[in-house]
């Protein structure tokens, strides 16, 4: 066996790409698990087409899974790809611009026949025409080796060919010195009832791993040493899983039953899938007939004393707008989760974007502000979900929770939280009358708590608290229908003031980077990793910059003005055409510069670092 040199890398980015039927998401997920077991820090970015099975071999059917891992702090799924595993010409062509010059391209050389090139609309073979000169190309006969390995099994040709991703996975695991055992364990349990498939996949995985060892094509093997993460028990978590668990935690800590109403929509459906499995955790899920029904059901549940939650993506929020207004004026607790995707209209359903911020802030008729909280990493979705539920109940208000496709599908190592460390989640229901009319005790649903301005939550079933609420303007205190001019203005201001008072619950901002810098970068949502990684790079390059991240976009943190006053120039990177930047300009009248990317993909740290260099260099 030829001996290979081992090169230690601080970090690496791998991208698996193939047809949407090639099992690339699965391959990526298993590589992620192995990487987690190798104790690296990591971040992932699945990237798949909206079509379930687009025609085989075409560029629009390409599905990818990108993984960035390292012994250093990993904040994004990676700027540039070090290793691209391409199962066919389409996957190669679509992703080639993401590979760094000098990076490695591993292709299934059996998939570059004339018909494959034609499907990918290629006039010439990229393996032969020089277009890969910048890269290190490794041609592996994945199809032939797979067929050879499985020739003595009873599997048919189609089943055999579909297994070639396991060969690729084995080879990639070997190349980066990842343990093979997590994938083996997974295959054993996944195909426990299909021994033939299980054995075939296990065999291929092993063959791929050994192939790396024996082939002359690899002279170097890489190793990425464990990252220094805070001690504790970890798991890999996807944003959507973390969000679902945050909701379970809210049910657990508050003692409130939770009713989740949802209508399937990419990329929010996985939240419905996850929560529907948690029936024994106090979560009831209803797959509604449409988006409006989904929020209506959640509002009905909240009226009954449960916590109603509805989840969707931007187009669904557009449909829910009127009902969100109802929740605002009836002052019922409600959480609206928006897993943002590329818009407008149907837009880019499977791609990520931050373009629903304005919709979250203002997308309703009338003056109907509500708190807006945004998650910053897959793991952060847990805390943000918990916090959204807590604030909704504490202030008796609908809360918008913004996630996005990148957070929902992306994953990272997650220090498993201790439920006892979560903030207290107190719930108090009205139990007695709170006013008197003509000497008789009565219940007035709009008498407010002086600190939070929340109205009392009286659930049906309590004698003496019978009351009516609804979408018509309410008289202050009594909650009776009122068309009085002064009352309407008062109530509009009261509802807005109540939302502002959520500031009482917002923790002080933490400034990242060089606090003495002139430039401050302000971000929200899933760009946090890229911004802070970009700032780190800039600092290493001698460019001074600081960054602040907004978890709450409405109300804005009470100390934001104070933080801003320490800096003289401002950059607001967003994955939209400029939304937070307008809010900040309006509020603070400072020279905020917009930085926008609207490509359905997250920022890379180098984009941020380059922009910083341009501004302060």
């Amino acid at each position: 066996m030829p001996s290979k040199t081992v090169e230690i890398l601080p970090e690496a980015t791998v991208l698996f790409a193939g047809d949407s039927g090639d099992g690339m998401q699965l391959t990526g997920t298993q590589f992620t698990m192995a990487t987690a077991h190798a104790m690296n820090d990591l971040a992932t970015l699945p990237d798949f087409p909206a079509e379930i099975r687009a025609p085989v071999g075409t560029t629009y059917g390409v599905s990818g899974f990108q993984l960035h891992f390292g012994s250093v702090d990993i904040r994004t799924p990676g700027d540039e790809v070090d290793l691209l595993v391409a199962m066919n010409p389409a996957a190669l062509i679509v992703n080639l611009d993401r590979v760094r010059p000098g990076g490695t391209v591993l292709v299934n050389s059996n998939a570059f026949e004339k018909k494959d090139l034609k499907l990918a609309n290629l006039a010439s073979n990229p393996l032969e025409d020089g277009s890969l000169d910048k890269f290190r190309v490794i041609q592996v006969e994945l199809t032939r080796l797979t067929r050879e390995t499985l020739k003595d099994t009873d599997l048919n040709q189609k089943q055999i060919d579909r297994s070639k991703n396991m060969f690729a996975l084995g080879l990639a695991l070997w190349l980066y010195s990842r343990p093979i055992e997590p994938a083996q364990r997974w295959l054993e349990s996944k195909f426990a009832r299909k021994p033939e498939i299980r054995d075939a996949n296990l065999e291929l995985l092993k063959k791929g791993f050994h192939f790396g060892e024996t082939t002359e094509q690899f002279v170097t093997r890489y190793e990425v040493t464990p990252a220094t993460l805070p001690p504790g028990r970890y798991r890999a978590v996807q944003g959507v899983q973390a969000l679902a668990m945050g909701i379970v935690a809210a049910a657990n800590k508050s003692g409130l039953p939770i009713t989740y109403g949802s209508y399937p929509i990419t990329p929010a459906s996985d939240l419905l899938h996850a929560l529907s499995r948690y029936k024994n955790h106090g979560i009831m899920t209803i797959q509604a007939e449409d988006e409006i029904a989904a929020i209506g059901m959640a509002i009905g549940a909240s009226f009954g004393g449960a916590l109603g939650i509805t989840g969707t993506s931007g187009p669904g929020v557009a449909l829910k707008g009127e009902a969100m207004g109802l929740a605002h004026i009836t002052e019922l607790p409600l959480v609206i989760v928006n897993v943002q995707r590329g818009g407008p209209s149907t837009g880019l359903p499977t791609k990520t974007e931050q373009s629903d911020l304005m919709q979250a802030l203002f997308g309703r008729n009338g003056d109907a502000p509500m708190p807006v909280i945004a998650a910053s990493t897959p793991g952060d979705c847990f805390e943000v979900a918990y916090e959204a539920c807590r604030i909704a109940v504490k202030y008796m208000t609908p809360v918008v929770l913004l996630s996005d496709g990148y957070l929902a599908n992306g994953s990272e190592p997650w220090l498993i939280p201790d439920p006892d460390d979560l903030r207290e989640f107190d719930v108090s229901f009205a139990t007695e009358t709170n006013a008197e009319v003509e000497g008789k005790p009565v219940f007035h649903p709009y008498v407010r708590d002086q600190k939070t301005l929340a109205r009392p939550w009286a659930k049906p079933g309590v004698p003496g608290l019978e009351h009516r609420i609804g979408g018509l303007e309410k008289a202050d205190g009594t909650g009776n229908v009122s068309y009085d001019a002064a009352n309407h203005e008062k109530m509009t201001r009261l509802r807005a003031e109540k939302v502002e008072r959520v500031q009482q619950d917002i923790k002080p901002l933490e400034v990242f980077g060089d606090k003495d810098a002139d430039l401050l970068i302000i971000g929200w949502g899933s760009t946090r990793g890229a911004i802070e990684a970009g700032v780190t790079r800039a600092l290493n390059a001698g460019h001074k910059a600081a960054a602040v991240h907004l978890r709450w976009v409405h109300p804005l943190p009470p100390d934001l003005g104070e933080v801003l006053s320490q800096y003289s120039s401002f950059l607001v990177p967003e994955l939209n055409n400029g939304q937070l930047v307008r809010i900040l300009r309006d509020r603070f009248l400072l020279p905020f510069e917009a930085m926008n990317k609207i490509q359905g993909r997250p920022f890379g740290p180098s984009e941020i670092a380059n922009k910083i260099a341009e501004m302060v260099g």
Partner: protein, 396 residues
């Protein structure tokens, strides 16, 4: 062929076999001399009271709960137009409430938008006046999470069949255990008089100055098509019948859908007078009951089944007797479909009663049973275990 999809030219005598349709949504012409006197002012429906007036001192009928009708009246002024059919429905419901024996605090009224949907404000119970068409969604979420509550949903023909059409069909198939009272006045009242999804073809309104061309819905047929488990029809001007039907809807474990013909005396006055007013009611309406023959016109006429169609028979001539009349079976989906399609026919009376009743589990019961089953199977979930689920590793 349905009752109202034939294309008979207006005004010509029908050449169709008995039981076949009349033109879409066309109101039956009345026998000579039975027409509504021109300019006749509609009488106040029973139970109506002018806005702001105290509830009429009717016998309240103390119920099992020990409450009276007055206990169910809120302190809010009723703001419907004087003479509106809504008053009769409100009075009937308030009178029924004490008899049902449900603690007042467990009663919830949920409505959408429209004249009828102001109803919850006038009931001294829990209630929500929600948004247009969406009451079924709110009621479903409430009942699923609070199956102990007794929920009434109030809606109108525009609210439930037009803007809320999608929700009404889905609440029917789910069979959520609650009562729906749909006030059908065949017009948009609150928006000041546009045609509704139940308005007849040719209706001249503010939005249809040359007549409406929309084919109308037949609400009972619609909900039966959506697999309603309980569908009934009654009218504002017969509070006794209305109360009986509402009682049955309440006793039913599932969605008790009750269509109430309700006169809008401002924008669609007299839309139902053929079937509600004394002069024509007995000839033009048939009140049917489970297990009883379909007889009307004070016993002088009956309905018999001729193939798949109903035929009016004269019980006095001697050719036919009561034994020839169809004995109604409200558990028969087929009979319900035939009777529901008797819809504004020249030659047949409009039916009132419980068209269909099917005992099947309600959505709220099932959703909670499933939760219980999962808890029994897996035990109450532990948050700590859930968080640490799957592949984990320790960093020292």
């Amino acid at each position: 062929m349905s009752d109202n999809d034939s294309k008979k030219p207006q005004g010509r005598k029908p050449k169709l076999p008995p039981g076949m349709g009349t033109p879409a949504g066309k109101k039956p012409t009345l026998p000579p001399g039975m027409g509504k006197p021109a300019g006749r002012k509609p009488s106040m429906p029973p139970g109506a009271k002018p806005p702001g007036a105290p509830p009429p001192g009717m016998p309240s009928g103390d119920g099992a709960s020990g409450l009276t009708r007055a206990d169910f009246s809120s302190d809010q002024d009723v703001r419907w137009c004087p003479g509106c059919g809504d008053y009769a429905i409100l009075a009937t419901v308030q009178r029924l409430m004490p008899e049902l024996g449900v603690p007042r605090e467990n009663v919830v009224f949920i409505s959408g938008i429209g004249c009828s949907s102001r109803f919850p404000y006038y009931m001294n119970t829990y209630g929500m006046h929600s948004i247009h068409g969406r009451a079924p969604t709110i009621a479903t979420g409430l009942k699923a999470s609070r199956p102990d509550l007794d929920i009434w949903m109030i809606t109108g023909d525009g609210d439930s069949l037009s803007i809320g059409g999608n929700h009404i069909i889905h609440i029917m198939r789910r069979n959520v255990d609650l009562q729906i009272i749909m006030f059908n006045n065949q017009i948009y009242g609150l928006t000041k008089g546009q045609y509704s999804p139940t308005s007849e073809v040719g209706k001249v309104t503010k939005s249809t100055p040359f007549g409406s061309i929309d084919h109308p819905f037949n609400p009972i047929a619609l909900v039966l098509g959506a697999d309603s488990a309980f569908a009934a029809r009654t009218m504002d001007r017969d509070p006794k019948h209305m109360k009986e039907i509402l009682q049955q809807a309440h006793a039913f474990k599932g969605t008790g859908f009750v269509e109430v013909y309700q006169n809008c005396n401002i924008f669609n006055d007299g839309a139902f007078f053929d079937v509600t007013e004394k002069a024509t009611k007995s000839e033009r309406a048939v009140f049917f009951e489970h297990g009883k023959p379909l007889v009307y016109a004070g016993g002088k006429k009956g309905l018999r089944l001729e193939g798949f169609h109903l035929q009016s028979i004269d019980l006095e001539e001697g050719n036919w007797g009561v034994d020839d009349c169809l004995v109604y079976d409200e558990t028969s989906r087929e009979l319900a479909t035939i009777l529901a399609r008797v819809y504004w026919r020249d030659n047949l009376p409009q039916p009132f009663g419980v068209f269909y009743r099917e005992d099947r589990p309600s959505y709220d019961a099932q959703v909670n049973e499933q939760v219980q089953a999962v808890i029994e199977q897996r035990g109450k979930g532990s948050l700590a275990d859930l968080l640490a689920e799957g592949d984990t590793w320790v960093v020292e």
